[in-house]
Each structure stands twice: as C-alpha cells, then as structure tokens.
Amino acid sequence: MSTDIKMALRNIWRSPIRTMLTLSAIAFAALILVFMLSFQLGSYEAMVNSSVKIHTGHFQVQVKGYNEKQNMRFAISSPKDIAAKLDKIKKIQAYTFRANGFSLVSSENRTRGVLVTGIDPLGEASVSTIKTLVKKGGYLDKNDTDKALIGQLLAQHLKVSVNDELTILGQGKNGSIAAGIVTIKGIFSSGIDEFDRSSIQIPLNYFNDLFYMQGSVHEIVCTAASLYDVSNIVKELKKDLPDNQDGKEIVLLDWKELVPGLVQGIKLDLVSAMIFYAILIIVVAFSILNTFLMAILERTKEFGVMLALGVKPGRLLKLVMMESSFMTLVGVSIGGALGCLLTLWFQIHGINLESASEILKEYGMSGTVYPKLSFISAFAGPVAVLFITLCAALYPALKVKKLTPVEAINSV
C-alpha cells in the first residue's frame, strides 16, 4: 500500500463518528434509491403484464386504421395466411384471432351498448387469462355456438346470470343488421372495471355468421415468452409480413401502441419519481459537502505544515479526493448491497398494499406488489449518488489546493 492510501485511510478514521454519519447518509440515499427504483420497475412490469394478459396481448396484427377507428370493415380477410407466417417464428408463444363489433345487448329488461368480441376458445385461452377469470359458470368450449361469456359488472347491470339469454343487435360488416340470441355460459371478473363493464365474448365462428365477417377477423393477438422479446419478434416479423392483403394495409402494433396511455403513464410516473430522486440526491450532496468542507477546514493547520514540509498542493488534493472517494465508495456499496437485500426480501415476500388495492385494481394488479431487482434498478441509484457525491467533494478539495503554507499554519 502506498503511503498516500495509508494516510487517507487513517485520516478517515481520525474522526469515527463523523465518518460513520457521512457513510450512513450516503448509504441511506443509495439504499432508498435501489429499493424505490426496483419497486417502481416491478410494479410497471406487473401493470403491463396484467393489462397485456387480460386482453391486448404483447402485439397484434391488424388492418391499418382499425386500432383508431374500430371500423368493422377494416378486417383482415385471410387470417390463415398471416398465421402461417406467425407459425414460423419460434419466439411467438401463442396467437389467436378476434373480431369485434359494437352492439346493443339486451336482457329481459335491460339494454346496454357494448363491444361484442368473437374469440376462438382454444386460442384465446393460450393468449389471455380470460379462462382463469371465469368466476361463475364455465369457459367456452371448442364447439360452442350461441354461448357467451360476459363481464361481472355487465351481468350485474343487465341483471342476468348463467344460462340466461341475451339478445345481440348490431351492425354486420356489410352494414346489414346483425341480430342473434346467445345463452350466458360464464361470467368473468378481471378486476379492471372498464373491461368487466363493457365486454361480452362469443365464439368466433358464431360471430362470423352473425356479423357477416366471411372468415375475416379484426385482430390477430400474439404473446411472446417475455416482454423483452417483443421488440425482436416485431422486427423479425415485419420483414416477413405482407404489406397489404386484398388492398388493405397490414400493420403490426406492439403493446405500446395498443395501450399508449399505459406507456405514457409509466413515463410520467417515472419522470415525476426522477424529480423526487434528484431532490433527494441533492439534499444528500449538500449534507455531505458540508461534512467534507468541515473536515478540511478543521485541518487547515495540518495542511499548512504538510505544505511547509514540501508536499505538493497536487498531492494534497489527491489525498483529500482519495479520502472522500473511499468514503463515498464504501457508503454507496454498503447502501447498494443493503438495498439489494431489502429488495430481494420483498421480491420474495411481496409488499402488502391492502389499503391501496382499490387503486391497484384499476391497473389490473392485486393488493400485493413485488419489487423487482434488475441491473438498472440495482446500479442506477448508487451510481448517481456516487457521481453527485464526488462532485460535492471536489469543491472542498480544490480549496486545499489554494492554501499557502504560512497562512495555513497561522489559521485557527
């Protein structure tokens, strides 16, 4: 160990209480940042996954314009051709076809305008969680025709239960009137009120006849093994997919385009959290700046003596910077490590937010939130603290460089 390092280490421990307090401040900031960031990223992922799994899927193939206008005529006329392309990509976990039409749905004495969705019972179960969300009655079978699944809130509103009949009155693809009667087979509850209030699902084949779809569908909904694979798959698929089919432009939409509010909501939340974090770091930087400054002012006399003995100002600067870097590094590492441990513990046990479950429900999450430690959440905070603290240490260190031996020795 060189003399400088030895000196720096000894200087740090000359005032153990002060050092401990400074270390604690740095460690505390690092810990909070690791934990908070993991918590946020974890809940975002849960938000995306649950919203994706309930309905939208990771990405969809549609006719251009359908997503904005939901016009019935913007339909993919031969979905099988596209399915053949999807089959070729191994990373695509599952896909299914869907068709939608706004209709007036009536029970014996209630009526409501809702989105009727035609689903393929087998495919749907592999893409979305709908099958597991059925709370009453059962899920659709492969050969079901005039059966329907409806959301729990909608069932409440229509005053119907399993085995009751509903009349569907809508507009077919060609503008003709689509009318039919379905029997309720199951009632589902996703927890997302909007979805449970306004959706009814019937077998795709039946939908096809009812709405005169002629085999065409509106959405091909796909899921990938993980959220992180989506962009790669989309890139790969884009090369392979025909630009248009029977004169209609085919587009690929990923979950960010399908639920733009979700992405921007996450961004907004992240940005406002960043402001909070930035302020926390600044406050920490100031208290550390103060400590470093004091530590150095206290030793003016000592520095004077060293200068008089012929130590170069540059070496003094190096020494002082070394002291603060050691402290910062140790503080950040301890804080980061503790933060990771804390996060991991909660990652396994979950954080119970029963009191906020009303809010979480709206985003499709349960009352327990699991933070998720990742490379980014483990390092971003501590690195930011490290950087800012070192900057804060620079100012007092530069003061040392300006000292002259005589003045310094004579100072109090």
Binding site: A29, T111, G170, G175, P260, D269, I275, V283, T291
Partner: protein, 406 residues
Amino acid sequence: MYFQLAWRNIWRNSRRTIVIITAVAIGVWSMVFLSAFSRGMLNSMLENGKSVLVGDIQIHHKNYREDPSIDKSMERPDVIRVVLENSLPQDALWAERIKVSAFVSNARHSSGVTLVGIDPKQEERISFVGRSIIKGTFLEESDKRGVLVGKALLDKFDTKIGKKLILMTRDKNGKVVSKAFRIRGIYRAEMESTEKSYLFITMSGARNLLNMQTGISEISIVLPDEEMVDAFGEMLQEKLDTRLYSVETWKDLLPMLEAYLGMFNSFMYIWYVVVFIAMGFGIVNTSLMAVFERVREFGLLRALGMKPWWVIRSVLTESIFILMVGILTGNALGMISVFLMKENGINLAMFGKGAEFFGMSRIIYPVLTLNDVMSVNYVIFFLGVFVSFYPAIRAAQITPVEAMRE
C-alpha cells in the same frame, strides 16, 4: 442574553452555518415545491373526475347506483327541488339530468355511449360541457332533436355538425326505441374517453325519446366551498326520504380518487421523512463538529458551574436557530417558485396520454395549501430538534477534566 449567545455562536463559523442552512433550505424548498406540484396533480385529477358530471354531491333514486337504468329514476323532482332551495347556500348550483346508456350509430359506425338529457341553462353553469363547445352551438332548451357530441366521437364516426346520428335505447316502458338526432355542437373534454362516452341532448328531447313525463335520473350539486361537502351531504340525507333517495358525495362516487388522496397524503409524509433523514445526517454531523470544536469552552462553562441541562439547552437553541433560518428560507424559496409556476403551469403535453391515463389535465398548476406547508415545517422542525439532542447530550457529557486535556 441567552438567545443572543446562541445566535452569536452559530455565526462564529459562518461558512459552516451557511452550508448547513443551505442544506436545510433546499430540503424544505424541495418538499414545499413537490407537495404543491403533487397537490396540483391531485387537484387536477379531482377536478377532472368531478367535472365529468359528478359535482360535489349527487342525489339518485336509492337503487340507481347498483342499477343505473331508466327504471330507477326519481319521479318527483319537485319535492327535492324544494328541499334544495331551502337548505343549500345561496351560491350553490345544481343541475337535473336524465342519464341512460344508449347505442349510437350512423350509416357506418356504431358505439355504446351514455346519453345525458340536460337542462342547458343549469348544466352550463355546473359541468364542463357548457364551457367546452369548440364548434357549433350549445343546446337550446326547446330543441328536441339536437345532440352535442365529443370531438373524439365525431372523428371516429367521420361525421360533422348538421349530420344525423341515430340513438337507440330502451324507453320507460322497456321497449327499444330509436330516433335520429342532429349534431348541433362539438365539445372537447380534458380526456378523450369522456369525449367518446357522453352525448348530450335536452331534457325535453330525452323525455320525448324515453316516453317519460317528470322523472329524472340524478341531481348533481356543486357547492361554493369544497369543505362543505360532508356537512351538506349529511344534511340532505336527513332531509330527504331515504326510502326513496340516496345522497352521495364525490367521495362515494369516485372511491378511487378518495383512495388516491389518502395514499398521496401518507406517501408525502413518508417522503418528507426520507428527505429529512438524508438531511438529518448533515445536521447532526455539523452540530457535532461545532460541539467538538468547543470542548474547551464547554469544559470551562462546566467548571464555572453551568449545569449539564444548560449546556444541552444552549446547543439545542443553536440548532433551532439554524433550523428556523433554513426553514424560513426554504419556505420563501418554495413559495417563490410555486408563484412563478402558477402563471403558466407545468406542461405535461409530452405525456399527454399518460396524464390522461391517470385522469389528469395536460397542464398542472401547482397548488400550495397551508396544510401541506405546515406539515412540511412540522416534520422538519420536530425531527430536526429531535436529532439535535444527540450532539447536545454529547456536549453536556464533556467534563472540565476532559476539556483540560484537549
């Protein structure tokens, strides 16, 4: 003399004092500003939630909330009107509405919406729709065939002012009825989802369509002061026949917002404490150094017969001075920055859809409330004094003998 001594002591090392005051001031400033900013966000969520036909208090048929249908309408609005006129403050506003779910279509498009029959004069003053007509005109009271449409729905339906829309719903007798209405005006709302889900027609138009004579679905009341909500809610509950009607405040109607409000308050407190802890280390460290620097002085004071308690008191007083100066500066900075932002607000247009996702407007105006500012100050001051006990006690432990050895 005692305060003078403390005041002079903190300025003995002015640089140290200034740095620590800066740290406290920045902490306080950040808290004041963040609380104003978040309060602004929350208020905007609240305003948006309430302005979309909620208001402060609503009166419904007692079963309307479980089953919002035409069957659950209030047949004697005149009775309620009398109660409202007698018991509400002069400047309270209210509006009567008929609200049913309906199905709207034109030649190519169709969608499910909420159809609202309004009294244009009442509605204009109470909810967003009166002030948000961007094209065409607001409804006339006698207009039985006019409809107001949101911009987003208009775009989705590829239609324009003067064109017809077919509205289909179930009437009072349970029969499916449909009538053509002409688009008179286009409104814009803070949120696209509002524009897509509400269509407005006149009360007479709605009565005509639904074959009903006197009934209404709801009465929405806006009070001049937010604080009155609970009191008047309870009062109306007492005065109206609870076998027929139910009275709900916005807290019942928007439980999610109510929950948000609660969570926000506790989150802000947690955050104050987090920032304080970060700051607290600095405060303790500085006062501790100030104490150790003066070991001889404290030893001398003790030798002269000063009680340990007096030492604690004098060190605490110094910390309190530092805290107070820091807090005052921080408050001043916070208020100045809020004041500067107040004019133009903070534009979240970059995250427009995201803001909408959370039910907020695109521009957030920070809102400073006395409550928030006071809670910031309390937290900092009391925790500040609390942690200062440590250096103060250390100072009191210094004995004359120890001091002489220094």
